[in-house]
């Protein structure tokens, strides 16, 4: 038996891991969606400034849309 760690610590670890997994999932989906939207030509040696701006904006707008939808659903109840 390991006396140095207890169940509370494990609980905290699991909930942190769950949070991390959710963030990873979100970023993974976002990158996939935004890549498809923003990188339309054959990949070069670096992004053009419009491509990197598009990626950044895309992520932000995607999150805005998530909020809009949530708020609308709440107002519908």
């Amino acid at each position: 038996m390991d006396p140095s760690l207890n169940s509370a610590e494990l609980q905290r670890f699991l909930s942190q891991e769950k949070e991390k997994a959710m963030v990873n999932e979100m970023v993974t989906n976002l990158t996939s969606v935004c890549w498809d939207k923003c990188i339309t030509s054959t990949p070069g040696n670096k992004f053009s400034s419009s491509e990197s701006a598009c990626l950044s904006h895309c992520a932000q707008r995607y999150m805005d849309v998530t909020l809009i939808i949530m708020k609308r659903v709440q107002s519908m109840q």
Partner: protein, 84 residues
Amino acid sequence: MGSFSTGSSETQISTKEFMEQMNFQLAQAYVEKFLQTVRDKCFDKCITKPGSSVSGTESSCISRCMDRYFEATRIVSRAFNASR
């Protein structure tokens, strides 16, 4: 409760070991999924007309595409974390 027993065997692992193993497996699963996505995106972008082998041009495209996708992940991740 500070340890786990694994089924029928008498092996017990500590919570700490469990956490480390879980971290490692989660990281592995994440990398695997990420690379599958990179493969799909870059195949899509670089292999427009599959030939009898991968050409040098297609190869270079794949390398660049991988770098760009990593970069895209960084940009999106930064934007995401900035708003949390």
